[in-house]
Subunit: 203 residues, 2 copies
């Protein structure tokens, strides 16, 4: 048998990749540093040289997840249909990512929610909402959407799609297909923003 080289060479990347796989297969609770070390044929103490502790590894996984997701959302936002079509596209991109990587999405947000998450993680995780706000502002200026605070409306769209994504990822849309719910959600939101909320109803 050929002796393994003392140095792995790409241990950090190997750990990250394997950690993502494990998370997709067994969730975060199924992630063990020692098992991870075994999986990549390295001693149980080696991962500590690359990740201070287990949380640091999870943070890195979450960050990589957000970066990957942001790319998908950016692509959807720029693929040039009319405004409404692009809005629906963003929603689909977000939810599709969630359905493809359900456990990763959970990790991404629970990590971002963690009290001492890094600034980098939080800003990367907040990127998606900026795309939505820009689009809403643009649509308002074009007269397609009614007036209203773009900041709040963007947040409304984000939370709604976030809920859709989480439940779709978990397969908890009961009888409804993911496609139907995403379409219905984006359609309803867009129709609501187009109609606006009469002042009389705001009281």
């Amino acid at each position: 048998m050929t002796a393994q080289p003392y140095h792995h060479g790409k241990l950090r990347e190997a750990l990250l990749e394997r950690a993502m796989e494990t998370i997709e297969e067994a969730g975060v609770e199924g992630l063990s540093l020692r098992q991870l070390a075994r999986d990549v044929n390295v001693s149980h103490g080696a991962p500590a040289k690359h990740f201070r502790d287990k949380q640091a590894l999870i943070d890195a996984v979450a960050l990589a997840g957000f970066e990957s997701m942001n790319r998908r959302i950016q692509d959807a936002a720029q693929s040039g249909h009319e405004l409404r079509g692009r809005f629906v596209g963003i929603g689909k991109a977000y939810v599709d990512f969630a359905v493809e990587h359900p456990a990763l999405l959970t990790v991404m947000y629970s990590t971002k929610h963690h009290p001492d998450s890094s600034d980098e993680l939080r800003s990367t995780g907040a990127q998606g909402i900026h795309v939505a706000r820009a689009m809403i502002t643009e649509a308002q200026e074009a007269g397609v959407l009614a007036a209203g605070d773009p900041e709040t409306l963007a947040m409304v769209c984000f939370v709604s799609l976030h809920g859709t994504a989480l439940l779709a990822a978990g397969g908890h849309l009961d009888g409804n297909s993911v496609e139907d719910v995403v379409t219905a959600t984006t359609d309803t939101l867009w129709a609501g923003m187009a109609a606006g909320v009469p002042a009389a109803q705001q009281s």
Copy 2:
């Protein structure tokens, strides 16, 4: 010192209550059966007599959480304003519960999402959406809302409010207040359902 009685008497309830407290303070990952046993002054093996394993305890916590939440939603749905006001009320009740018990809400849904969750837990957890569907059907019959599959629309409302609740609970609404986001979300959804989605846009 007065000797403790051999039998605790209400160990199950004490464990459940303390488990909820611990979860609110430290999340599920901060929950330990042994520490829990210490907290209620009982040996580390005692909890096993009431909960087969840790997951069984968490399941019980989640179920209690859903029952408590459903009561709040029911109350809001029945407090008799006009339809739109009741709709907003349901949303507020849901989100308020989430903000008051953020960690519990996470446990509730991650447990419900768990592959082998009990039928009881899943049906109890799905109760909220039935309330929403009934209200939408009623509003459609009254001509307040446009036509559309009530099942899908109820799901849209549920996922949107669910997202709002989760993010509000985690304090991730950025600059926006919980109150503002809930109101804006329910208003936008209601306006969207009232306007309906033109067939031309559905293509």
